[in-house]
């Protein structure tokens, strides 16, 4: 039995930082300290203007490069900015969607999903250019041409209904996780239960890793009809609880209703 990473051990590895030190470390001559500081600011949700500004500046870093030309610090800075919830990062994150490094584009799309800002829609939509036919594995690399999963999820989260005709074909993409992201976004954009049911079906048929992904999707869209399927899925309870929490939060009204109580009863049984 494996539980979600990061939940198991209290994070006391790495140097002891304060917000001030982490912000200063983003300019340290030691590149590994910069990288760690960017992660740390996101992890501990240091929602300060000076932290946000320093991370936005780090999105343009040129010092930290991998052998393949990747930008590790930019990736971490982009990830952290999603967690800080500050809309002033949006324009810089949108620029990152055109970065040469796939993982910077992926991190930026994931953070724009969290920030829910409509202004990202047009650049995200452009990333779907060429449709499913162009969405192929990059020769020799473990990823597709674009971070389709993150892009499609972001378009769903920000309510980009104009993207529906471009997203829908990805239901037939050969990568199951891309299919999941598509079903998730389509449900968010149309509220049509056929897309929720598509995820429920994948929960029954996918392998363990995919089932965990699907639980995350069902929780994110709050698809109530999946409650029992989630509770009985062959996945660790920690993942089921998080998914049911998502369903519960979508159902909540000031006075408890029967659907909320039903979901909580399922959660209680998973403790």
């Amino acid at each position: 039995m494996v539980e979600p990473s990061g939940e198991e051990f209290p994070s006391q590895n790495g140097p002891q930082l304060t917000p001030e030190l982490a912000i200063a470390n983003l300019q340290s001559p030691d590149l590994s300290l910069r990288y760690y500081a960017a992660w740390w600011l996101g992890k501990f949700r240091v929602k300060r203007v000076d932290a946000v500004d320093a991370l936005i500046a780090a999105l343009k870093d040129e010092a930290d490069r991998t052998e393949l030309g990747g930008y590790p610090l930019r990736r971490n800075a982009a990830r952290a900015l999603g967690k800080l919830g500050d809309a002033s990062a949006v324009p810089s994150l949108i620029e990152c969607l055109e970065c040469s490094d796939f993982y910077v584009r992926e991190a930026a799309a994931q953070s724009l999903e969290m920030l829910r800002d409509r202004t990202a829609a047009s650049v995200l939509i452009k990333m779907l250019d060429g449709g499913v036919a162009e969405a192929v594995q990059v020769q020799g690399l473990p990823h597709l041409t674009q971070p389709y999963e993150a892009v499609i999820e972001a378009l769903g989260a920000i309510g980009a209904t104009e993207a529906i005709p471009l997203i829908q074909p990805f239901l037939e993409h050969p990568v199951p996780r891309v299919q999941c992201a598509t079903a998730r976004a389509m449900y968010q954009l149309t509220q049509n239960p056929i897309y929720g049911e598509r995820l429920v079906e994948m929960l029954a048929t996918g392998d363990l890793k995919l089932r965990r992904v699907v639980l995350g999707d069902l929780g994110a869209i709050g698809y109530l009809a999946a409650a029992e399927a989630i509770a009985h899925a062959k996945v660790e309870n920690s993942f089921k609880l998080i998914a049911l929490k998502g369903l519960l939060e979508h159902q909540l009204t000031p006075e408890l209703n029967d659907d909320s109580i039903r979901v909580m009863n399922l959660m209680d049984a998973l403790l």
Binding site: E3, E8, L252, L256, L271
Partner: protein, 199 residues
Amino acid sequence: MTDELIRAVAEAVTPAQMVTAVQNLAATKDVAAIPTLIAVFGYNNPAAAAVAATALTEMGEYAVSQLISQIDDYNYGARAYSIRTLAAIADPRALDLLISAAATDFAPSVRRAAAKGLGNLHWHKLDFPASHTAPKRALETLIFISQDSEWSIRYAAVVGLQALAQNSDLQQPIFARLNQMLTTDTEKAVRARVQLAYR
């Protein structure tokens, strides 16, 4: 007979064979099967573990001392099954173990199971004064972990506190704490569970 069935569990090769072997052993309801059933928790076979947990729960208090003494300190998956089973049997001899699991285990699955169990123990099985002090110790632990940073631990603490409120002399501090959580908890899901506890 039981020896043979125990051997079949040890010799099972495929996950499906394991489930069948555990089912056959569980059907004997023989106390000699208890150590083997507990060991199944550590085999990373959820279906077999569920069968073993049900069987041990049905054996009830006969299984308690071995469940406590054979707890697996090195496998949190196995430990969660042991704690869930002890919580379901609800024998108050498990109190100390549930307290330390809820307060100090690193694995959230273990802590949640312990928190739920702490509310439900059969206190009346204890002699006085333990029957009086034991629920108070459960209360202290639940209030402590109701301040945990992880939402699912706080959620489980509310479930434990709700059950513990069956003890009329503990209702006042329990509802005082729940009331506090209703206004201060940052998670909607936790606040909703507090609301449910009030119904």
